[in-house]
């Protein structure tokens, strides 16, 4: 096929899914910031399910599972998406090339393990990374990966490996792009719906594994780690909590700052000071999360899991949990009245 380079504006983002939504929608005429995509897509969440282990470490997440932000944001904004997976890798390549030939930048789900342009230390078997392909030159695809500062490129064989990574979830060559953009958007309605859902998720789910309750749940587990799982595992588990909070694309503080930025932008857009106040409150909680990560980092560095330091860390989490529960309960009960 002939070389193609679409005129795609790459904007560096904190998180891959939000970044792709924001970049793809902007290309199609809907200018929406990363925090807006995250907030309208109800991306913020907290999950701790100790018996679901990832590489032998209890699962913790600060956000909703991959793909959901996309689904919710496009639904609430009235964007219709094309999305498909392919059993046959050859078909997947043909479909991608055909879309590019038609002048469509394409979103892909890939594994970060097979992206040579990422620094090696971040390449784990994480199969739900998102990026945009906006062209092809010889046997290289032109890539806009939102977590990268600038656009980059990748050899077609590497992209194929990344699109057909095994494990959970398997991307199966998934590709997507917007097909129908809305004519006029009720931004207020989309924002309210997004906040309402997050408010519910964080304060009303009656199971301990989800929402602000789960932060308390994690806190109660954390303080017993030194006694129950021993030194080595305690430190590993704690390290994982920091990694989930600070690693690739959380914008720091486990997405809390991205969400606060969303509340702030919404407040400005809807001329609503209450939302700005809520943004400030969440920023404070975000700072507390950072405080937690900082202290937890020191404990990990010393590699000694003593009971007192784990108890102190657990106390910070309990405080985070209370602050978030109060904040999201309030957002849930009042957002429909603004």
């Amino acid at each position: 096929m002939t070389d193609i380079a679409l005129n795609f504006e790459h904007r560096h983002s904190a998180h891959c899914e939000n970044g792709v939504i924001s970049n793809l929608f902007r290309y199609n005429g809907l200018d929406i910031s990363e925090p807006m995509a995250f907030g309208i897509g109800s991306g913020l969440f907290f999950i701790h399910i100790p018996f679901i282990k990832v590489n032998g470490i209890p699962g913790t997440s600060y956000r909703i599972w991959p793909g959901q932000i996309f689904k919710r944001a496009s639904k609430r904004l009235g964007v219709e998406m094309y999305s498909d997976t392919f059993r046959n890798p050859k078909k997947a390549k043909e479909a991608l090339d055909a879309a590019l030939a038609k002048g469509i930048p394409v979103g892909l789900v890939v594994s970060v393990f097979y992206l040579p342009y990422l620094p090696e230390v971040f390449r784990f078997h994480f199969n739900a990374h998102n990026l945009v392909v906006y062209g092809k030159e010889g046997n290289e695809y032109l890539i806009s990966d939102p977590v990268m500062e600038h656009v980059t490129r990748i050899h077609e064989d590497d992209l194929m490996r990344a699109r057909y990574a095994k494990g959970t979830p398997e991307p199966m060559g998934k590709m997507y792009y917007p097909t129908v953009m809305p004519k006029d958007i009720d931004m207020k309605k989309a924002i309210v719906e997004g906040i309402y859902k997050t408010g519910y998720d964080m304060s009303h789910i009656p199971i301990p594994f989800f929402g602000s309750k789960a932060i308390r749940y994690l806190a109660s587990k954390l303080k017993d780690y030194p006694e129950k799982v021993g030194d080595r595992k305690s430190i590993l588990y704690l390290g994982n909590i920091i990694r989930m909070q600070e690693e690739i694309g959380t914008g720091g503080a486990g997405f809390r700052f991205v969400y606060a930025a969303f509340l702030h932008e919404s407040g400005r857009k809807l001329e609503n000071n209450w939302l700005i106040d809520k943004s400030k409150e969440l920023t404070k909680t975000g700072d507390l999360w950072r405080d937690f990560a900082f202290k937890a980092g020191r404990v990990c560095k010393n590699r000694s899991a003593d009971k007192t330091s784990f108890k102190d860390l657990s106390d910070i989490l309990v405080e985070c949990s209370h602050q978030e529960e109060k904040l999201f309960f309030e957002l849930y009960s009042k957002i429909k009245t603004i």
């Binding site: 620094p119 230390v121 606060a260």
Partner: protein, 136 residues
């Protein structure tokens, strides 16, 4: 987090540094973006993971040298895989892959299967069979 507090702690890990977008508040309390090139707690957590990985790789390497495991075991660790994941990459059952970790079984594998393993590990057949790092 305030704009002036954005951390710039570059990791000591080789090939590690990267620039991240952070959402921060400016002097008027407005939200804005700033670039961070790393933060210490995150670096510590990441270094800890790689220490663990490298220790496993080295322990497995010694076992391969001593003839207790086949080279597949070494590349399995090196590629951060586990048996279920590797099994799905080579289209085999887990018990089959487990068998292939035995040196004597590895010797008798078909050329085709060895090629498949080499492809998955992104190395040549020769490297898989004769890596000097895995010999005495």
């Amino acid at each position: 987090m305030k704009k002036e507090e954005v951390p710039q702690d570059i990791t000591k890990l080789e090939k590690g540094p990267m620039n991240w977008v952070n959402y921060v508040t400016d002097e008027n309390g407005e939200y804005t973006r700033a670039i961070s090139n790393g933060w210490e707690p995150e670096n510590i957590a990441l270094e800890q993971v790689w220490d663990e990985v490298n220790a496993n790789v080295e322990a497995t390497r010694q076992k391969v040298i001593r003839g207790e495991l086949s080279p597949i075991a070494y590349y399995l660790e090196k590629n951060l895989m586990d048996i279920p994941l590797l099994a799905s990459y080579v289209d085999k059952w887990q018990w089959q892959v487990k068998r292939h970790l035995k040196p004597e079984v590895f010797q008798s594998l078909s050329e085709q299967l060895v090629e498949k393993y080499a492809y998955v590990f992104k190395i040549s057949v020769d490297e898989l069979k004769n890596n000097p790092l895995l010999k005495k």
